[in-house]
C-alpha cells in the first residue's frame, strides 16, 4: 500500500490522542483517590465536620482533575483539529 506523508501525520495524531488521554488519566486518578482516602480518614476522626470535609475534598479533586481535562482537550484537538 502506498503511504503518504499526510496519512502518517493523521495516523500519528490518532495514536497520539489515545496515548495522551490514556497516560494523562493516570495521575488525576491516583491523586483524586489519595484525596478521597484522606477525606475518609478525616471523617473517621471527626465525623461532625462531614459536610465541610466533603466540600474540601471536592474542591481539591476538582483542581487535581485539571490535568486530566488538559489531556482530554489535547486528545480532542488531535482528533478533530490536526
Amino acid at each position: 500500500m502506498a503511504i503518504e506523508g499526510a496519512d502518517i501525520v493523521k495516523a500519528a495524531a490518532f495514536l497520539g490522542a489515545g496515548i495522551s488521554m490514556g497516560l494523562g488519566a493516570i495521575g488525576p486518578g491516583v491523586g483524586e483517590g489519595m484525596t478521597a482516602a484522606k477525606a475518609c480518614e478525616a471523617i473517621g476522626k471527626n465525623p461532625a465536620e462531614a459536610g465541610l470535609l466533603t466540600r474540601t475534598m471536592l474542591v481539591g479533586q476538582a483542581v487535581a482533575e485539571s490535568t486530566g481535562i488538559y489531556s482530554l482537550v489535547i486528545a480532542l484537538l488531535l482528533l478533530f483539529v490536526v
Partner: protein, 325 residues
C-alpha cells in the same frame, strides 16, 4: 508476500505471545506472595506460639494470590501447544493480543491479592480469637481481587479461539492487538486497587472483629467500584473484537483502533489505583469508627466517582476513535 509465510508469522506470534503472557503474568503473583511471606514472618516474630496457624493462613492466601499467574500459565501453554491449523496473518495479531491481555492483566491481581493475605497473617498474630473471620474476609477479598485477571482471561480466550479468517487484514490487526492491550493494561490498576481495599479490611477485622459485617460490605462495594476501569477496558475490547471493520489501505484507521485500546488501557490504571486507595481509607476507618459507617460509605462513593471521571474521559476518547474517525 504475506501468503506463503503467514504460517511462520503465526508461530512467531504464538511464541512471543506465550512468553509475554507468562513473563509479565508472573510479576504480580511473585510480588504479592513475597509480600505475604514477609508479613507472615513479621507475624510469627510477634507471636511465635501461633506459627502453625499463621503458616497455614499464609499458604491459603498465597494459593489464591497465585491464581492470576496460573491463568497466565494456562494461556501460555495453550499459545505454545495449541493446534494453529491453517491460519491467516490475522491469527498472528489475535495470538499476540491474547498474550498481551493475559500478561498485563495478571500483574495487578497478583500483587493485590497479596495484601489481604499478608494482613490476615499479621491480624492472626494480634487477635488469634478472630481466626475464622479473618480467613473468611481474606478469602472474599482476594477472590474479588481476581476479577480483573478473569476479565483478561476472557478476552485472551476469545482472541485465541475465535475465527477471524473472514475479516480484512488491515484495520482488524490493530483492533485485535488493541483489544488485548485495553483489558490487559486496565486490569493492572483495578487489581492492585482492589487488593489495597482488601488488605485494610483484614487489618480492620483484626482490630475490631465485631465490625466484620460492615467492613466486608464496604470492602466489596469499594472493590466493585475500583473494578469499573477494568470493565471499561473489557467493553472496549469487546467492541474492538466483535465490530466488523471495512477493509482499507490507509494506516490511519489501524492506528485509531490501536490508540483506542491504549487509551482505555492506560486510562484505567490510575482511576483503578485511586479508587482502591479511597476504598482502603474508607474501610480502615469504618473498622475504627463504626457509627459513621454511612458517612464514610457516602464520601468513599463520591470520591471514587470523581476519581473515576478520568477513566470515563478515556472511554469517551476511545469510543470516538472507534466510531467517529
Amino acid at each position: 508476500m504475506m501468503e506463503f509465510d503467514a504460517q511462520a508469522w503465526v508461530g512467531v506470534a504464538a511464541f512471543v505471545g506465550g512468553g509475554i503472557a507468562i513473563g509479565f503474568g508472573a510479576i504480580g503473583a511473585a510480588i504479592g506472595e513475597g509480600y505475604t511471606a514477609a508479613v507472615a514472618n513479621l507475624a510469627v516474630s510477634r507471636n511465635p506460639k501461633l506459627s502453625g496457624e499463621i503458616f497455614k493462613n499464609m499458604l491459603v492466601g498465597q494459593a489464591v494470590a497465585e491464581s492470576a499467574s496460573i491463568f497466565a500459565l494456562v494461556v501460555a501453554i495453550l499459545l505454545l501447544f495449541m493446534d494453529r491449523g491453517n491460519a491467516t496473518m490475522l491469527k498472528a495479531a489475535a495470538l499476540l493480543g491474547a498474550g498481551l491481555s493475559m500478561g498485563f492483566g495478571a500483574i495487578g491481581s497478583g500483587i493485590g491479592a497479596g495484601f489481604p493475605a499478608g494482613q490476615a497473617c499479621l491480624g492472626l498474630s494480634r487477635q488469634p480469637a478472630a481466626a475464622t473471620r479473618l480467613t473468611t474476609n481474606m478469602l472474599i477479598g482476594s477472590a474479588v481481587c481476581q476479577t480483573p485477571a478473569i476479565f483478561s482471561l476472557v478476552v485472551a480466550f476469545i482472541l485465541l479461539f475465535m475465527d477471524f479468517s473472514a475479516a480484512p487484514f488491515n484495520p482488524t490487526w490493530a483492533a485485535l492487538i488493541g483489544a488485548g492491550l485495553s483489558t490487559g493494561l486496565a486490569a493492572i490498576g483495578s487489581g492492585f486497587g482492589g487488593g489495597m481495599a482488601a488488605g485494610s479490611s483484614c487489618e480492620g477485622v483484626a482490630r475490631q472483629p465485631e465490625t466484620i459485617g460492615n467492613v466486608t460490605t464496604i470492602m466489596l462495594v469499594g472493590q466493585a467500584v475500583a473494578q469499573t476501569p477494568a470493565i471499561f477496558g473489557l467493553l472496549v475490547s469487546f467492541i474492538l473484537i466483535f465490530k466488523v471493520f471495512p477493509e482499507t489501505t490507509q494506516i490511519q484507521t489501524a492506528m485509531a483502533l490501536l490508540g483506542a485500546g491504549l487509551c482505555t488501557g492506560f486510562g484505567g490504571i490510575g482511576p483503578g489505583l485511586g479508587n482502591g486507595m479511597a476504598a482502603e481509607g474508607a474501610v480502615r476507618w469504618v473498622a475504627r469508627n463504626l457509627p459513621s459507617a454511612a458517612d464514610l460509605m457516602r464520601i468513599m462513593l463520591v470520591g471514587q466517582a470523581v476519581s473515576q471521571s478520568t477513566a470515563i474521559y478515556a472511554l469517551v476518547v476511545s469510543l470516538v476513535l472507534i466510531f467517529v474517525v
